[in-house]
């Protein structure tokens, strides 16, 4: 077919597969950090995001996010049910792969974003309310925000905001949504961290690191130099985030931990997501170091101080490092790295930074308000939160009639 490049097709299929694999990874990452009586509940949050948003996306999500623009705010429903979306290229989005492959690739972003939020309200959200939240949030928050930043005609795209692989769309939006949801749903009865299986969480973190190559390198949408650059900046920021987080632990608590190392890596990955294809490897080192540091401070200082119960640190990790990454992109971006990008503050361009501030503000406010409204709306229909006895007994048995491990082996 015209304009198609087999190498790019294969590469984006590879990338989309890797992102899908982040769902089992996230399920392990979150599942290992909760109590053993809630591991299946947390796991199900991720897998349900995969199942439900995979369908929502082809029914309406893709069209809302990437369909024909309506005032820069949202896509029209013209492409709902994938009408008119086929094997030919859509040059607005990717010049060398079938339009349908772009749909698939972007689908995985919608999936993982919704799943990330669930860490914030782990161990206490009712399942029907969760499912409603999943669909509504993805439809009314993710889809419009994705349109603003990535949709042809989206207002933030027009403004010149750079978001290579979802620093705004994925990370900031999920982090802020997590914070709001954690507050609205309220604290768990016992908030003391009680991770039941750290090797499970670490495996999950390792899979996320692996999958992030699909996320970030894949966002080049072509097997080219930009993808290579994104690969290296991604890996570098992850390494740097791990090192700064564990170093902080070591200095302050005298104990460098395994979970801390992996958490720092995730923070590094989050912080490079927006800029992976726009900044140099050297810049990514700094971005990752600061990302790990800020996430450490958010999790171990900010959270206890303000007392919100962001159970698995969706905000502390994705929100905080995501905002940092958005700012850092505006500082370190260079058109030498990517001619389709822009120069950042460091290269004398103030405008990008201003635009990123606007984008952060808009997305934080919109996400926070909408997440609040959605949760309140759901609470009119069904209770958000598990009963005290359900929470005490554990969500696995009380909500799902299932226990993860067989007590007598």
């Amino acid at each position: 077919m015209e304009g198609l490049n087999g190498a790019d097709v294969g590469f984006v299929i590879f990338a989309a597969s890797l992102i899908m694999f982040m769902i089992p990874g996230l399920a392990l990452f979150y599942g290992g950090m909760v109590k053993s009586k809630n591991v299946l509940s947390s796991t199900l949050h991720s897998y349900m995001a995969l199942a439900v948003i995979s369908l929502q996306w082809i029914l309406v999500g893709y069209s809302l996010a990437f369909g024909p623009d309506w005032n820069g705010l949202i896509g029209g429903l013209n492409w709902a049910f994938l009408k008119d979306v086929g094997m030919s290229v859509n040059p607005d989005y990717a010049a060398t792969i079938p339009h349908l492959l772009f749909v698939v690739f972007q689908m995985m972003f919608a999936v993982i974003t919704a799943a990330v939020i669930s860490g914030a309200f782990a161990e206490r959200m009712r399942f029907p309310a969760f499912l409603l939240f999943l669909v509504l949030w993805s439809t009314f928050v993710y889809d419009p925000v994705a349109h603003w930043i990535w949709g042809a005609g989206g207002w933030l795209k027009q403004l010149g905001v750079l978001d290579f692989a979802g620093g705004f769309v994925v990370e900031i939006s999920s982090g802020i949504a997590g914070l709001v949801a954690a507050i609205v749903i309220g604290k768990r009865r016992r908030t003391r961290p009680d991770p039941h299986h750290i090797p499970m969480a670490i495996l999950g973190g390792g899979i996320l690191w692996f999958g992030w190559f699909g996320f970030n390198a894949g966002s080049a949408l072509a097997a080219n130099g930009i993808a290579v650059n994104a690969f290296l900046t991604t890996n570098t920021a992850a390494a740097a985030g791990a090192i700064s987080f564990v170093t902080m632990e070591w200095i302050i608590n005298k104990k460098p931990t395994a979970l801390g190392t992996v958490s720092g890596a995730i923070a590094g990955l989050v912080s490079i997501t927006g800029g992976a294809g726009y900044v140099t490897p050297g810049s990514s080192l700094i971005i990752g170091l600061v990302g790990g540091l800020l996430s450490f401070l958010a999790i171990s200082r900010l959270k206890p101080k303000f007392g919100y119960d962001d159970a698995l640190d969706a905000f502390g990790c994705h929100g905080v490092a995501g905002i940092w990454g958005a700012l850092a992109t505006a500082v370190f971006a260079s058109i030498k790295v990517n001619p389709a990008g822009a120069d950042g503050l460091l290269y004398g361009n103030v405008e990008l930074f201003r635009n990123h501030l606007i984008a952060i503000g808009a997305i934080v406010v919109y996400t926070a308000v909408m997440t609040f409204v959605i949760l309140k709306a759901i609470s009119l229909v069904t209770t958000l939160r598990t009963k005290k006895e359900e929470e005490t007994e554990g969500l696995d048995i009380s909500l799902h009639g299932e226990s993860a491990y067989n007590a007598l082996n």
């Binding site: 009586k37 016992r190 005490t392 007994e393 554990g394 048995i397 799902h400 009639g401 299932e402 226990s403 007590a407 007598l408």
Partner: protein, 117 residues
């Protein structure tokens, strides 16, 4: 070593452990041993589901808390436990009381009541 030493075993739901420990702390219980057990009593299990099929689970996850006391009166301990764990539903748990012949603390060799101080 003339004092009577008693062991009190409390078997209850794992979810009540933290509450129980908080209260025991208050009445001066200084040591305890906790283990995961499975049990059934009046509460005869529940249903779980495996690929659509209901499965009867006869043994429920419980926690056993063993406390050996000497100075603290058994009654006081039992009352405290009852107060914390009581909801009036089966599954609240059970308390078993046993005699102990002797206790020895290894780190300083003390025996009996001294070993429990």
């Amino acid at each position: 070593m003339t004092e009577k030493i008693t062991k009190v075993d409390i078997i209850t739901s794992p979810n009540r452990l933290e509450d129980l420990m908080d209260e025991l702390d208050k009445i001066g219980v200084t040591g305890m041993t906790v283990s995961n057990v499975s049990g059934c009593g009046l509460q005869r299990g529940h249903k779980e589901y495996y690929r659509g099929t209901p499965v009867e689970i006869k043994l429920l996850a419980k926690v056993k808390v063993e406390i050996v006391i000497c100075e603290i009166p058994v009654d006081k301990l039992v009352e405290t436990v009852k107060k914390v764990l009581y909801t009036g539903n089966i599954g609240d748990g059970k308390i078993f009381v046993y005699d102990v012949v002797n206790v020895i603390r290894i780190s300083d060799g003390t025996e009996g009541i001294d070993a429990l101080r």
